[in-house]
Structures are given as C-alpha cells and as structure tokens.
Symmetry: C2
Subunit: 174 residues, 2 copies
Amino acid sequence: MRKGLIIVHTGNGKGKTTAALGLAFRALGNGFKVCMIQFIKGTWKYGELKAAEKFENFEIIPMGKGFVNLGSEKPDPKDVEAAKDAFEKAKSVIFSNNYDMVILDEINYAILYKLLDVDDVVEILKNKPEKLHVILTGRNAHEKIIEIADLVTEMREIKHPFHKGIKAQRGIEF
Amino acid sequence: MRKGLIIVHTGNGKGKTTAALGLAFRALGNGFKVCMIQFIKGTWKYGELKAAEKFENFEIIPMGKGFVNLGSEKPDPKDVEAAKDAFEKAKSVIFSNNYDMVILDEINYAILYKLLDVDDVVEILKNKPEKLHVILTGRNAHEKIIEIADLVTEMREIKHPFHKGIKAQRGIEF
C-alpha cells in the first residue's frame, strides 16, 4: 500500500504554495483526487483558480480570512473563529477518504499566530488515513510540525525584485 | 508593459521543478502561453505530462539526455551535443515571441557540468524579449545566473523521508 507523506513547505521565500500547486498538478495528472483548503484568504490568484477548473478531480475550498494584523497582541476572535472553521473543514476532508492529497495552504501561518493550536493539528496528522498525502504550507512551520513531517523543504529567498541590487549572500550553496 | 522576470529555483531540496510547474499552472490559467524545455531527460513524471495535456497553451519539449555521470573528468561529447541542441531550441523558443513564459528545466545542472557555457546562457537572458518570463531550475545555479536574475529562491532540504529521524537543523528559521 502506498504510504502517504506529510510534506511541509516553509521558509521566507517564494514558491511554498506554488510548489504545492505543482504537486497537485502532478497528482491530478495521475488521476488522484486533490483538495486544497485555504487557511488564509486571498493568497490564491485568479490564474490558479482558473487552471484548477480544468480538473474535475481538484477541489479548492477557500476558508479563513485575509492576513491578520501581525502587530496585534492577541488574535482577533473573528480570525480565530475563521481558522477553527477551516480546521474543522480540513478534518472532515482528511477523514472522508474521498481524497488522495489534501493541501492545508498557509496553515503554518494560522498556527504561528495562534489561531490554531499546533497540538490539534499534530493530532489529525498522526491519525490521518495511511495512504493520504498531506501538504502543509506557510512560513515559520512549528517545530512539532517539522517533527511529524516526512519531507520538509525550506524555500529561502536569495534575491527578490523588490530589493534588486542585493547580491546573493555568501556561504549559501549555489 | 509587463516586465518579464528572470526567476531561478535552485538548492538541494525538492520543489524546484515542481514550483516552476506551479508557476506554469498559474500562468496557463491566465491564458498565457508556456513552453518548458527539459535539459535533462527523465525528470518529468507521467503525472505532470498527463496534466499538461489538458492545456493547449502548454508545450513541453523534452530535450537533453539522462543525468550525466557525475564522476567523469570531462563531459561525454554526446551529452554536450544533446545540451547544445536543447540550448538552440531554447533560443529559438525565447526569440519566437510565441510564448509568455519559458521554463528552462534543469539548465543549471547542464551549466554546472559544463555541457553549456554560462556566458552563452547569460547572453540570451540579457537579450530576451522584455515581456517574457524565463524560469531556470536546477541545483547549484551559477553565480552569473544569480547575478542576472530578478528573483532567486533556494529550495533547501530540511528533512527527507530517506533519512528520516534526522532532526531539523538548529539555526534555520522555522
């Protein structure tokens, strides 16, 4: 039986959600059923939503709210509620046995800002169906998420158009 | 007018080609025309080729040969020839004005193993059509490629199923 992997895309660079999308694309081509749950609203663009429509085996569930205020001492109860709703939805999707791959997009962000309890997330990962692939994205993945994951990639920004002119840093393997 | 970016995905981790695929997926959804030229044969899997067929605005051109022998002192002339053919193809695609995005998959690898001269690659990047996005993938991107790029992301392996048990390294931001 196929062993479903727990995959984490984290780091400060581009490509976390994009690489998840690439994995989805590959899985869809294999005839897998894929579900993507969006924990932070508005991070998916028109293009990918439009492309996703081509595949009847790809479901995108937009949940959550926009990016929460980073400066605030305590998370807004409305953000917490939206994240909990997304989490409940994720749980029912994961345990539905209707999918081969579930993407929890930006869930790391929701954990980081205490909209979700990391232990609750670890709990469902521990008990997920054996064959199911689960992909978690978002910067600053929690250590407990890294711990339970099979495959963790850090997307690290070396150069960005907004600060062009900054040289790639020494000591980074390239 | 849109400014086409030069984007590099490098590093030892997973997700370099996958994130390029995700960018293609997004672009395709926007109605862009995308061409992917494969500098190393066999890195694309059945799933993505199958998914790509859904889009008539996505062309995949498999060129190059399998992964070359890393241990050899000098590259095999046949590998050099295959890489040169791929490069000529890439040039004609880039200057055809028929595409909005061109992916040069694993080209960094071909440069690293001296199948291609980095200066020739830089030359076409310098002169590419203004609006065209070009994505270069592969580990160990050459410093001159980093230099000319607008956006560089390093995909860094933190944890891999093949060496499970290895803890995420300290000092890495997560």
